[in-house]
């Protein structure tokens, strides 16, 4: 479809009507871009990732508006093909190949389309302020559960601070008032009034050995925190499912889609297909209904009752999902036992039920076990800090949130009052059980084709199955063999699809595969944000 590309949106002029995406270098097929099309906001924004910039207007807080380049027909690059072969660890080649490699290694890496190390100006950099904080309770995330919990703590007279990487409200800010009210139910009233001690635009970077580190982007402050309790209200993320051509431009996560919708960057005429499996999907479609003419909903489950078929077209009970297009998605192809349906689509939104952000929890010492449909989180009792999980991150949202929150509140109270070190350790030893749907991750029945599992490193389903069969049977070893999880997302989106794919196709035991170690920083952070005055440490 043609697009009217207009000038820099910061001019105040309306930007293009149709969401046009240009393909840039990524996997060897179709030269597709990587995951900036899927996630936001910390993902490598295109100002440095690509040679040509792309328009995705984010909300003003993020201030990332990049201009679209001219449509360019690009062929798959040979160099990216070879680099994919050369770069990951360990491959067996006979002598002639090794000789050729020795020659090619001098030229190939330079031919990649990764961004240049940017040229700045000068070598002195403004330092970031350091603030050391000691607190009774650190809450990560000022979404509904974080806000509710903080208010309860205040009532009990327990001192606390919240770090929130965006604004108070978290992901619910993406929803319009009407939809938000419906989604949150009775919690909606609770989060309306203000709370104190919220550090907004402050990203939780992780629990280091000496401090918890959190960075305020707006004010350029590094917080070095020593909390007695850490409560994770860190919410969830849209899972990254495995299906044919699942990294084509035009496949968006629900969060990203909502962001673009809210900032009026999706024209009414865009045809959007939503992949759903429950209530969250329904909410996202609800939000989109006002603004889009053509909506199609697809699902593995039988979700027909959730939708009004006068407004949206529903294909449920599907077994396989494929996406087709060049250079961006143009068709969504689904099939159940009997039929195949081809849906013309400009965008595919993955609006599957969100899964808890596991990286944050794993980094803080929670061990993760998988049992069928359940994720079990266990904190080993070595900690002197009380840690717990609430809200969407615990899988209790929004309906059953209040119960688990009051339980956690009681534990926090007991922990803070307890003087005996051993008793404190006992209180810390807990098991938290969450639900996850393995079906949310695999939407295909065969392993061939362009089915990306790790989209930072272009690792396909076939790659991980090959690796497993060669004897690399744990996530740590698969990571080292294929380079899966060593990219920007550091395993955030690829570990669960890997585990469930191996389970489905090879009958592998998820707990024997395990997870690889998550290390800080939990989000990639610019060196300029880490520059400090040593004397303040």
């Amino acid at each position: 479809m043609p697009s009217q590309v207009s000038e820099d949106p910061s001019d105040g002029k309306k930007i293009d009507e149709h969401l046009l995406i240009n393909p840039l270098n990524s996997s060897m097929k179709y030269k597709r871009p990587r995951f900036p099309f899927y996630n936001y906001p910390w993902d490598p924004d295109t100002r440095i990732q690509y040679n040509e910039k792309i328009i995705y207007t984010f909300n003003e807080d993020l201030r990332k508006v990049v201009k679209i380049g001219q449509k360019k027909r690009v062929k798959p690059s040979l160099s990216s093909y070879f680099l994919k072969k050369l770069a990951p660890a360990g491959f067996q080649y006979r002598w002639p190949y090794r000789r050729i490699w020795g020659i090619l290694v001098k030229i190939i890496p330079k031919m990649t389309n990764l961004p240049n190390i940017p040229q700045g100006s000068g070598f002195s950099h403004p330092v970031n302020e350091i603030k050391k904080i000691e607190t009774e309770c650190l809450i990560v995330g000022a979404g509904p559960s974080g806000i509710v919990f903080k208010k309860l703590l205040e009532k009990k007279g327990i001192e606390s601070i919240i770090v929130e990487k965006r604004k108070t409200g978290g992901h619910t800010n993406l929803l319009s008032e009407r939809v938000k009210r419906h989604w949150l139910g009775e919690i909606y009233k609770e989060i309306e009034t203000d709370i104190e001690n919220v550090l907004e635009t402050t990203t939780y970077l992780g629990e280091f050995e000496d401090y918890v580190l959190a960075y305020n982007r707006e004010k350029r402050i590094q917080y070095l925190i020593k909390p007695k309790c850490i409560i994770f209200a860190s919410g969830g993320i849209t899972p990254y499912p495995v299906f044919e051509n699942n990294d084509l431009p035009g496949i968006l996560s629900a969060e990203f889609f909502l962001e673009l919708l809210k900032t009026n960057n999706i024209s009414r005429n865009t045809s959007v297909t939503f992949l759903v499996d429950g209530e969250w999907g329904k909410t996202v479609v609800e939000e989109a209904k006002e603004k889009l003419k053509k909506i199609v909903v697809i699902s593995k489950n039988k979700i027909l009752p959730l939708f009004d078929t006068d407004e949206v077209q529903v294909f449920d009970g599907i077994e396989e999902l494929r996406v087709w297009g060049r250079e961006k998605i143009r068709k969504v192809i689904v099939n159940n036992k009997d039929n195949t349906f081809t849906i013309d689509s400009d965008i595919l939104v993955i609006a599957l039920n969100r899964i808890p952000e596991l990286n944050i929890l794993a980094q803080s010492g929670f061990q993760i076990f998988l049992r069928g449909n359940q994720i079990s989180l266990k904190l080993n009792g070595k900690t002197t800090t009380y840690k717990d999980v609430i809200g969407e991150a615990r899988g209790t949202f929004p309906n059953n949130m209040k119960n688990s929150i009051s339980e956690v509140l009681e534990n926090v109270e007991n922990f803070l009052e307890e003087v005996d070190e051993d008793r404190k350790k006992d209180l810390s030893k807990k098991e938290i059980v969450l639900s996850v749907n393995p079906e949310s991750f695999v939407f295909t029945n065969n392993i061939d084709g362009m089915k990306i599992v790790c989209r930072c490193q272009d690792i396909t389903l076939k790659d991980i199955i090959t690796s497993y069969n060669e004897g690399f049977t744990s996530m740590e070893t698969i990571k080292r063999h294929t380079a899966l999880g060593t990219g920007i997302c550091q395993g955030r989106y690829c570990q669960l699809p890997t585990i469930f794919s191996l389970k489905k196709f090879l009958g592998a035991d998820p707990n024997k595969i395990g997870f690889f170690k998550v290390r800080p920083p939990l989000e990639p952070i610019e060196l300029s944000s880490l520059v400090i005055d040593e004397n303040e440490l």
Binding site: P44, R47, L86, A87, A89, G90, F91, Q92, Y93, R94, W95, R98, W101, G102, V105, P109, K110, T112, L114, P115, N116, I117, P118, Q119, G120, S121, G122, F123, H125, F208, E209, D210, Y211, V212, L213, L224, S474, E476, T477, R480, H481, A483, T486, G487, I488, Q490, K517, R519, P520, P521, P524, I525, E526, L527, S528, L530, V531, I532, E534, L537
Partner: protein, 385 residues
């Protein structure tokens, strides 16, 4: 499962695996070799390092050893038939004082020229032209070692592991050795779920070696020092050489994938077998120092920080072999003080020769444990990082 082995190797990193490989080549089929690794193969320092090798050291002994080590890696690659991604990418030491420059010039004259590995001294202007994003303001000279280079550590570990899977060496992962003791002419090795006898034990457990040696009443002057290291997101590959910013004892370079990888020795140091955790203090200080030398740090994002051990000895050189006053059948390989991966394979080859023939190879002699009580320390003063 056999319960009694001829050779038991404790540690499945680069030294343990190389040892298993060399022993399996040299012994006859009737002999049995077993290797115990507490995690997965390579989970210690072998998968935590920056993947570099150099031939330029501060002492004759180490320089000779390093040259042979580099040659051995090339040969090992061919033998194993696996691509180690060996590459002469080079090292550049950035020098900031006349004194420091003299230091390198002396080494060059005393050892490196003679051994055929001279360095060249480059003008900071040349460096600036090639790498405009580097700060060369106070640099007096760059010391360039073209014979130094890089490899992919995971590739080497995988290559050895695959080769060993075709031999009759038994490798047991997730098998930490908790207890070792002498028992009627054999050694009893025990851990969770296993107990075996071995005639000979080779301790190749890296930073975790002191605990094993303690049980055998062997004391070696080994101090594990925790080092932290970070990696950034990938960029277009521009920086081939390994840069050492001597002012801060900081090093960094670019991997083939394009990530900037770097580390520095920053106070406070953590010694002993401590948790391999990371500190906010290190990351903040390191980034501050790195910003002094790399210009465009506004867009360079750190992805991950991890840590590993340098196993240091008083003379910053490894320990190889055994001492006469040790119980029979115990051997040690380790204490590489920060250059273990590159020297490990060659050291393992020499040790294997010694174990089988009983003759100490010439290159191994300076590294025997006896040097400490005899006070014949190696004068090594070039540790990177």
């Amino acid at each position: 499962m056999k319960m009694s082995y001829d050779y038991a190797i404790i540690g499945g990193g680069i030294t343990g695996l190389s040892l298993a490989y060399n022993l399996s080549k040299m012994v006859d089929d009737k002999k049995s070799i077993i290797l115990y690794e507490k995690g997965y193969v390579g989970s210690g320092s072998s998968t935590r390092n920056a993947g570099r090798y150099r031939v330029h050291f501060g002492s004759m002994e180490n320089t000779v050893f390093a040259i042979k080590s580099a040659e051995y890696l090339k040969m090992l690659q061919r033998e194993i038939g696996y691509n180690f991604m060996l590459w002469n990418s080079g090292y550049i030491w950035l020098v900031y004082s006349e004194e420091s420059l003299k230091f390198f010039e002396n080494k060059n004259n005393m050892y490196w020229k003679r051994l055929g590995i001279p360095v060249s001294f480059i003008d900071p202007e040349e460096i600036k032209k090639k790498y405009p994003f580097l700060n060369t303001n106070d640099v007096i000279a760059g010391v360039y070692g073209p014979q130094d280079g890089s490899f992919h550590h995971d590739a080497i570990i995988h290559g050895l592991w695959k080769k060993l899977s075709k031999t009759n060496v038994r490798i047991y992962e997730n098998s930490p050795v908790l207890r070792v003791r002498k028992e009627n002419g054999y050694y009893r090795i025990e851990g969770p779920g296993f107990s075996a006898k071995a005639e000979n034990i080779i301790v190749a457990a890296g930073g975790w070696s002191p605990k094993i040696l303690e049980q055998l009443n062997i004391s070696l002057p080994l101090v594990p020092v925790r080092k932290e290291i970070m990696v950034t997101e990938p960029f277009k590959f521009r920086l081939k050489e390994f840069i050492i910013y001597t002012k801060r004892n900081l090093y960094f370079s670019q991997t083939i994938k394009g990530e900037l990888i770097g580390s520095a020795s920053i106070e406070p140091k953590k010694t002993g077998v401590v948790e391999l955790d990371t500190t906010a203090t290190w990351l903040l200080k390191f980034s501050t120092y790195l910003s002094e030398i790399i210009q465009p740090i506004h867009y360079v994002r750190v992805m991950r920080v991890w840590s590993g051990y340098y196993l240091m000895t008083p003379d910053k050189s490894h320990i190889l072999g055994r001492s006469k006053d040790w119980p029979d059948g115990i051997y040690y390989i380790g204490g590489f003080s920060g250059h273990g991966f590159m020297m490990g394979p060659y050291a393992a080859k020499l040790l294997s020769e010694y174990i089988i023939t009983g003759k100490i190879p010439e290159d191994m002699k300076p590294f025997l444990p006896d040097r400490f009580p005899k006070n014949k320390l190696i004068q090594e003063d070039m540790v990177v990082g």
